[in-house]
């Protein structure tokens, strides 16, 4: 249900405005209304936007700077935020927080300088080592290729060599280099090349030392990458340099591990402080951002907003205790201004079981204030639709267990926590419908119990436990054989589901004193029921003619009422809405696809293991597990998506009015962001 909200205005003396903002921030229940737009439209302009402290922009800049420094530090140290003790974070938050912004900034700066002092050297050394490692790793394969050639050159006293690295696609340039260097050296040169990896080729140019300068100049002009070793290795013979490179590559990981150890000690020492600082800065900046949304006159400040009705008294008491009659809280009667009700932010308060189903509002806006919250429709029908479509005891058991694990394991992550709970409830419904269809991993159980028997020519026959083949109601309900019956059940479920939505639509109209809206929705409901009463005559031989005639009259009457309520659009909506009923056929269609796939998995596995050979049984078991596994994965996604669609399009589409705003109170994070 939608929480009852109160519109409030808080007025007080201007000189205590910022202190009052702090009390409101502490209470954390006021959804602030931005008064700046209203002030802009006012005539006379005695009221203006509240101005911040003259030093506020300076504070804001410093806090933003601190926020980015703290953020960098958190990224560098990577504390495990989820495992932090929130009580410790809250204590640290209180130690950093101060009503005086300068004091708070000084405390955070002091803490940051401590962290920097303890981490700077280690972090810099770590970064240097990582750069060195990546350079050496680049050199190593090149040098390994060039080394044997260079060793031969080093034995020739008057010869010099230069190592080059070239992209493989430009390898042809080596011929050109060979020709040109030959011209420079009078033919006393040779170029030897070898591929390093898929992208690069290493080459060694060997030439008479006498032409060293000219060759260097030529290569510089040609913009060819020469392999330049770190300065300490550059002057050494290549085999010595290579040995050193290998030794460094072996040493660096151990050094890095040592540094990581040091950093994790620092992380442990400062993670609580850093997270608390991040939260405190966030809250302070949020409070500063809120100030321009308030109004002021020469003498007083004005803060307006909404809060849950039950929070009005505590807020009044907190303000009264601190400021006496210098600050006054007034509750405004929004019913006097209809447009105010539309602006009211919406908060939901549902039973804990239903609350998990508020996940639907991750896909849609909240319902408008003053209308009915349809979460309960979703909580009842969504898992039921899911179970109706999947309908297999084995699958239901697996889905239920997986859902419960997800729900418990990710209890801190709202989406996973909610989805896990819904999966668990959906799994329970799946088991229920699985029992109705007598399906356990497809027809496996029914065959084992002898309910399904296969004749010599391969045709399956169902021996019903209750009823016979010709009975309307029989057990088990075979989805393949009883397709027409199940189709009818789907249409009836659709009628109930859409009907509930339309009844909500009628109630919304009554709550809003909008008689035409109620007539439009009521008319559509009559068309739906009437059409079903007429259709029933074609499917059920015993259906009385008078009931079909009454249905026809109801449908026509409903069409007229919908047209009176919603005009031409209402009449069209009534006809299209009745057509939406057939969309519920997906409930059986998707279920049928699932059961056919499960039976195929069983048939294949059975065929594989038929000969009794061990490898046949193993292959059969693998096929069984893989196909049923795939069917379960599809069975989780497809029914969820179609269940959501039936709610958002077919049912909610008939009555749902979205809210403009969600209730987002102006509150401190209190140690958690």
């Amino acid at each position: 249900m939608i929480e009852r909200m109160a519109k409030v205005e808080i007025l007080g003396l201007k000189d205590i405005a910022l202190e009052a903002v702090d009390v409101i921030h502490d209470q954390g229940t006021l959804h602030i209304e931005d008064l700046s737009e209203k002030i802009g439209a006012m005539e006379g302009k005695r009221v203006s936007r509240m101005e911040m402290d003259p030093r506020a922009s300076e504070h804001e800049a410093t806090l933003n700077n601190l926020r980015s420094k703290v953020g960098d530090m958190i990224r560098e140290l990577q504390p495990e935020v989820e495992t932090l003790n929130q009580a410790e974070v809250a204590v640290e938050y209180k130690a950093l927080w101060s009503d005086n912004v300068d004091t708070m900034i000084a405390r955070i700066q002091r803490m940051l300088s401590d962290v920097e002092k303890d981490t700077r050297e280690t972090v810099e050394r770590k970064n240097d080592l990582m750069v060195e490692m990546s350079r050496l790793e680049k050199y190593a394969p090149i040098m390994a290729k060039v080394q044997p050639l260079a060793e031969r050159v080093s034995r020739m006293q008057d010869m010099a060599s230069i190592a080059l690295i070239i992209e493989r696609k430009y390898k042809a340039i080596l011929n050109y280099l060979n020709e040109e260097i030959s011209k420079i050296t009078g033919g006393e040169c040779e170029v030897v090349a070898s591929d390093v990896d898929e992208e690069s080729t290493a080459a060694l140019v060997v030439f008479n030392r006498h032409y060293l300068k000219q060759v260097h100049e030529f290569l510089a002009v040609q913009d060819v990458n020469q392999v330049r070793l770190p300065s300490d290795l550059a002057r050494k013979p290549i085999d010595e340099a290579m040995a050193e490179v290998r030794a460094r590559i072996a040493q660096i990981p151990a050094e890095l591990d040592g540094l990581e150890g040091k950093l994790s000690e620092v992380t442990e020492r400062y993670s609580v402080k850093l997270i608390a600082a991040r939260n405190a800065i966030h809250d302070r900046l949020e409070a500063m951002d809120a100030v321009p949304k308030f109004a002021q006159t020469d003498q007083v400040f004005i803060i307006a907003g909404w809060m849950p009705e039950e929070s009005v008294e505590p807020m009044e008491k907190a303000l009264g205790d601190k400021f006496g009659n210098k600050v006054i809280l007034t509750v405004v009667d929004v019913h006097e201004h209809a447009e105010e009700e539309e602006e009211t932010p919406v908060a939901l308060r549902n039973h804990p079981f239903v609350r998990y189903f508020e996940i639907i509002y991750m896909l849609s806006k909240y319902p408008r204030y003053g209308t009915v919250d349809p979460t309960v429709i979703f909580a009842v029908f969504f898992p039921m639709f899911f179970g109706f479509m999947v309908g297999d005891m084995g699958y239901g058991l697996i889905i239920m267990v997986l859902g419960w694990i997800v729900h418990k394991k990710w209890s801190q992550k709202p989406l996973a926590n909610m989805a896990g709970y819904i999966m668990t409830v959906g799994g329970a419904w799946t088991i229920f419908f699985g029992a109705l269809y007598l399906e356990f991993f497809g027809d496996w159980l029914a065959r084992w119990l002898g309910v399904i028997t296969v004749s010599a020519n391969g045709e399956a026959h169902v021996d019903y436990i209750l009823g016979t083949e010709n009975s309307i109601f029989k057990y088990p309900i075979d989805r393949l054989e009883g397709f027409t019956f199940m189709l009818a059940v789907c249409l009836i479920i659709g009628l109930i589901h859409m009907g509930a939505g339309l009844i909500f639509g009628v109630i919304n109209g009554v709550k809003e004193n909008n008689r035409k809206h109620s007539m439009e929705k009521g008319g559509l409901l009559m068309v739906l029921i009437g059409a079903m009463m007429v259709i029933a005559k074609f499917g059920l031989g015993w259906w009385p003619v008078w009931a079909a005639a009454l249905g026809g009259l109801m449908a026509v009457g409903g069409l007229v009422i919908a047209a009176i309520g919603g005009g031409m659009g209402g009449a069209v909506e009534a006809v299209v809405g009745a057509g939406n009923l057939f969309s519920y056929a997906r409930l059986i269609a998707i279920g049928l696809a699932s059961v056919i796939m499960a039976n195929v998995a069983n048939d294949l596995a059975r065929e594989m293991g038929k000969g009794g050979k061990w490898w046949g049984i193993i292959v059969g078991a693998i096929v069984f597990i893989l196909l049923h596994g795939l069917n379960i994965v599809i069975g989780v996604f497809s029914p969820s998506i179609h269940g959501l669609r039936l709610h958002l399009v077919e049912s909610f589409g008939k009555f749902f009015e979205p809210a403009k705003y969600r209730y987002e109170p102006f509150k401190k994070t209190g140690g958690e962001e």
Binding site: L363, F582, R586, I588, A589, L592, I641, H642, L644, V649
Partner: protein, 78 residues
């Protein structure tokens, strides 16, 4: 012979019912999918709505499947 032709025609009708509706769904989903992929790249919070939007044209193939199943039921009713 006549009965075999009848069975064949029933099978072709069922195949057309599901095949054509599947093609129509695929065409619609390809367009919606491309548009929603673009929208999600710009605004990742739309991913939930994108899934629902892509699922909307599936009504066609689902109804095609239902009709195909009802057509095949004609064969077993004989």
């Amino acid at each position: 012979m006549e009965s075999a032709v009848k069975v064949g025609l029933i099978a072709i009708s069922a195949a057309l019912a599901i095949g054509l509706s599947a093609i129509a769904t695929a065409l619609a989903q390809s367009r919606i999918g491309a548009a929603m992929a673009g929208a999600v790249a710009e605004r990742p919070e739309l991913v939930g709505s994108a899934i629902i939007m892509v699922a909307i044209p599936e009504t066609m193939v689902i109804l095609g499947f239902v009709v195909a199943f009802l057509i095949t039921a004609l064969k077993s009713a004989e």
